[in-house]
């Protein structure tokens, strides 16, 4: 069916677009930018900020261009006197309700409200100041998120994010009129509610009302402390996004520059979370095969299948609140960050002859939930807090700027030799479907002794941005010890974004779906779209980052976790075997159910 086409004019320029297009998108087609605040590509249309209003000739009221579809022969003016007057007043109104102390604000320089105020040269405040008569306290209860209502413009992007993309509903609109605000359940502090700390709301908040808890000064202090050995690990998705904060276009891989910047910042060792991502595959792959064996050979009915991944801490908190009955299904593997943290203060400390109490372990993550994860009581198996500070991609960019490092011109360097080696399988952890692909590359080979039967190891059916993906492979050519898997159809599912995860798990719960292995990432697109990644985010930007991830994989010499020589080495020298005693002690954990309210 071909779409009906609609003709209209915008600022007297004719344009033809498909029926159903909004005025905003039609204008974009003509390279006319209309300012927006509540609009976000990832979310349903709210039409509440009203800065996008335009004049439709013949209509008394102005139209919200983000919400109104085009109609035949419409005449739209985006910059008439009426529009400018209204738009300017609306921006002034927003500012009158806003604590605009930009120079002290964490979002200074990356704020959509500030940009608009700047564009419209709002100058002296025209209206009465409505902020100072109210008292606001900043909610700093969460280790991941800060909420400052005095910076909130009530655009409800966060509410829509949390409901539509994440299905969590930790944030909602409370009260009406002048008291209307964005609130958590019963106005409880953020750390007491169902919030998963995923940070997706932060990624979409146009202002400084929702930002990450930053630990930049703490990390600087550790670096400056001569008695400390500061070890940093970097997650797979950081390297394909950091550039966006530092002058590159989305989709640029900046791994080598990032490593060299970390050295210049003064970290004593620059290590790679990818190493423990490879290790995760060994542990989790073995765990899956063990579970399958118990189910298929031992006919053990207590074994929990499907097994789900456990590397996304947003997903962990979500399942604790929402599907506690599935906790036994979650892989007992810690996330790669936490495996790394536990090993830095044991394995690494021993090998480097450093007292673990003098090690400060810092991780650079695309994620805000990992800040919370690092502080969990479960994560102290080294005898210390395994990861001391978690910085987001954004915080790292701030440190690089503070240090005066000219990132664009930086030479590329390699990670440290020790705990710095990784494979392409680890890199793809950063994209939805990546853990599944990495696990299949290894598990298949363990079972059959041959590479997965996909061209160039690229298991394309598990890739891509579809919310829920399904794939199945029928296992053939098993080695004798795995013969019980011969002919078994391994059914897998992948979900990213917690709303999709919720839908998938509900289907499993209702018995409508039957899988062996499920990969879940809390954030849209996987970690590459994490809550700690550069702002803005959009489907297009996430697609670019994903392309960069897969290209990084293709450029790696080794592409299967079990080929990582350091992985073999650590089992030989330290851990023994996957799921062995030492692994259990350091690399695995269990989680507890939590209430929804």
């Amino acid at each position: 069916m071909t779409q009906k086409m609609i003709n209209l004019t915008i600022n007297n320029i004719p344009v033809t677009v498909e029926e159903g297009t909004t005025i905003l998108d039609a204008a974009r087609k003509l390279n006319i930018r209309i300012p927006t605040l509540c609009y976000h590509e990832d979310l349903c249309v709210a039409g509440n900020c009203r800065v996008c209003v335009v004049e439709q000739v013949g209509m008394r009221t102005l139209q919200a261009s983000c919400a109104v579809p085009v109609r035949e022969n419409m005449q739209i003016l985006t910059n008439s006197m009426k529009v400018r007057q209204a738009r300017k007043n609306i921006i002034e109104l927003l500012l009158s309700e806003h604590r605009a102390d930009c120079t002290k604000c964490y979002k200074n320089g990356n704020c959509e409200l500030q940009d608009l105020a700047n564009e419209y040269r709002t100058g002296n405040q025209m209206y009465l100041d409505l902020v100072h008569e109210k008292s606001f306290t900043i909610d700093m209860s969460s280790p991941s998120i800060m909420k400052d209502d005095s910076k909130c413009i009530r655009c409800q992007r966060c509410v829509r994010t949390c409901a539509e993309l994440q299905g969590v509903n930790a944030l909602s609109v409370a009260n009406k009129g002048h008291e209307m605000k964005i609130s958590s359940f019963f106005e409880k502090p953020m750390h007491e509610v169902v919030c998963t700390n995923c940070g997706q709301c932060i990624n979409r908040c146009p202002t400084g009302a929702l930002v990450e808890r930053n630990y930049i000064d703490e990390v600087w202090n550790a670096i400056y402390d001569p008695t400390k050995h500061v070890a940093v690990q970097t997650a797979p998705a950081v390297r394909v996004a950091l550039g966006e904060e530092l002058g590159f276009d989305p989709g640029e891989r900046v791994t080598g520059k990032m490593v060299s910047a970390l050295r210049r910042l003064g970290f004593n060792s620059v290590l790679d979370t990818d190493f423990t991502a490879d290790l995760t595959i060994m542990e989790e792959g073995t765990e899956l095969l063990t579970r399958l064996k118990r189910a298929l050979v031992d006919k053990d009915t207590t074994v929990s299948l499907p097994m789900t991944t456990s590397c996304s801490p947003g997903w962990i908190k979500f399942i604790e609140h929402t599907f506690p009955e599935f906790l036994p299904n979650v892989s007992t593997c810690k996330s790669p960050q936490q495996m790394f943290g536990a090993l830095v203060k044991t394995y690494y400390a021993q090998r480097k002859n450093i007292n673990p109490k003098d090690i400060v372990s810092v991780s650079i993550m695309p994620c805000t939930a990992k800040k919370y994860e690092a502080q969990r009581p479960e994560m102290r198996d080294s005898g210390y807090q395994d990861v001391d500070y978690v910085l987001t991609t954004r915080e790292l960019a701030i440190m690089i700027k503070q240090a005066g490092i000219e990132f664009l011109k930086l030479e590329e360097e390699q990670y440290d030799r020790f705990m710095g080696n990784s494979t392409g399988a680890a890199v793809i952890f950063g994209a939805t479907g990546g853990v599944m692909e990495a696990a299949l590359r290894t598990a298949w080979e363990i079972v059959t002794g041959t590479p997965v039967p996909f061209e160039n190891l690229n298991i394309t059916p598990v890739r891509g941005m579809e919310g829920i993906k399904e794939a199945s492979v029928t296992i053939s050519g098993c080695k004798p010890e795995w013969s019980f898997l011969e002919g078994v159809e391994l059914r897998c599912a992948i979900a990213h974004g917690l709303a999709n995860a919720k839908q998938l798990m509900q289907a499993v719960k209702d018995g409508k779906a039957n899988y062996h292995f499920i990969e879940i990432m809390a954030c849209p697109g996987g970690c590459l779209g994490g809550g700690g990644q550069p702002i803005p985010t959009s489907p297009e930007i996430r697609k670019k980052r994903a392309e960069a991830i897969y290209s990084e994989d293709e450029h790696m010499k080794l592409r299967k976790s079990h080929d990582n020589p350091e992985v073999a080495q650590i089992y030989q020298e330290f851990l023994g075997e996957p799921l062995g005693h030492k692994s259990h002690e350091l690399l695995h954990t269990h989680y507890k159910a939590r209430k929804r309210y």
């Binding site: 249309v45 009203r50 800065v51 209206y127 009530r154 009129g177 002048h178």
Partner: protein
């Protein structure tokens, strides 16, 4: 424009004639013929916006949908208005007949009264009546079920899309329009939302015929209307009047002899000063009203009047859109600042511009109409605001 003479009539509270005969009569004719007659009657919605009722029903009839709904808006949140309560108390049967009629015409099989929370006391009676009528309708082969839903207590929930959100169990926030309820309303299905009094009018038209109905009122304002009269008046209460009279005649009849201004249409309406009484017609060609008429004599402070309205709006705005949420607070606090000399009198001119922005740029009728009272009072009684 010619005004009518003020004339009191009695259609609305007149006892209902035989419901089933009336419905059967309509059902024996072509639906589109009935719609043409309804459109031709000139009946416009009595809830405030004044949309042609026949056209609304026609759009809903033509809208594609496997399921359609009829909703009677009995949220009546305008302060000082209680005409819908009076109708539901005295002639609820006519309202329900009107809803059934609408259901038949547009092809809906469910109808709800969205009842203001404070009107709960009416529900035992209404429920009983509905149960009876549901059976009666079945007996003549009309598949239409009536029920009640309760309001949340917020003024904005009288706005039709906020009302629908509230019925769906969500926060009462107005939606973007388009789409309008006639194509995507309750649960995404085509939905007719009409005021209580509007439904009664459709029954009257079916009873007396559109020719007879058209004889009432003026070209732009057909029919009769209930007015809730309050303030400094000689007679207080609910009166049924033909539409289209001049405000001067109205004040002669209902004022206390010292009328300085009349607020036509409640908080969201206009304030008309004495010098404009003669030229002001009460109706869609002049100043329309959902029914509220508040009369002020010379002892009243128009600053206080405006202050009260603005206080009401800054509380009752749903708060979602910028012009209304922040604009209401700015107008409210702005006149106080001028009164206290914290801002110069000329600040009122800025506020008038702001009120214009609110009128053009707000998302729903609430924010769009705050400027009505504000501008009409500030323009006509500026000295009372400043000094």
């Amino acid at each position: 424009m010619e005004s009518n003479k003020l004339s009191r009539v009695d259609y609305i509270f007149r006892p209902e004639t035989n419901r089933l005969d009336l419905l059967k009569r309509v059902m024996s004719k072509d639906k589109d013929d009935f719609l043409l007659e309804l459109i031709d009657s000139g009946l416009k919605g009595r809830g405030g916006a004044g949309f042609l009722t026949g056209l609304k029903w026609k759009l809903a009839k033509e809208a594609a949908g496997d399921k359609k709904y009829v909703i009677c808006n009995a949220d009546e949140g305008e302060p000082g208005t209680f005409k819908d309560r009076e109708i539901l108390d005295r002639v609820a049967g006519k309202v329900l007949t009107g809803m059934a009629l609408c259901g038949y015409i547009v092809g809906a099989d469910e109808g709800y009264i969205y009842l203001r929370a404070e009107y709960r006391f009416l529900s035992p009676k209404l429920n009983k009546m509905m149960a009876g009528i549901n059976e009666e309708l079945k007996s003549i082969g009309l598949n239409f079920k009536l029920g009640i839903r309760y309001g949340s207590g917020a003024y904005v929930c009288g706005e039709e899309t906020a009302l629908i959100e509230s019925m769906e169990g969500k926060r009462g926030e107005p939606r973007n329009k388009p789409p309008f309820p006639v194509t995507e309303g309750y649960l995404g299905k085509p939905t007719v939302v009409n005021n209580v009094e509007t439904f009664v009018n459709t029954v009257i038209i079916a009873e007396i015929g559109y020719h007879e109905y058209k004889k009432l009122g003026t070209d732009s304002s057909r029919g009769m209307k209930l007015f809730s009269i309050s303030g400094d008046c000689s007679k207080e209460g609910i009166f049924e009047l033909e539409l289209g009279m001049s405000l001067a005649d109205f004040v002669d009849e209902f004022g206390d002899g010292d009328t300085k201004a009349v607020q036509v249409g409640g908080a969201s309406g206009f304030c008309v000063p004495r010098k404009k009484f003669k030229e002001t017609i009460i109706g869609f060609e002049g100043i329309p009203t959902g029914g509220s008429m508040k009369i002020f004599n010379s002892s009243r402070s128009m600053y206080n009047v405006l202050h009260n309205y603005l206080d009401f709006f800054q509380e009752e705005s749903c708060g979602q859109c910028t012009p209304c949420r922040v604009g209401c607070q700015q107008l409210y606090k702005g006149i106080m600042a001028v009164k206290r000399r914290e801002r110069p009198a000329t600040y009122l001119d800025e506020l008038v511009k702001l009120a214009e922005t609110m009128r053009f740029a707000s998302k729903c009728g609430l924010g769009q109409s705050v400027g009505n009272a504000f501008v009409s009072i500030v323009e006509n009684f500026r000295e009372e605001i400043v000094y």
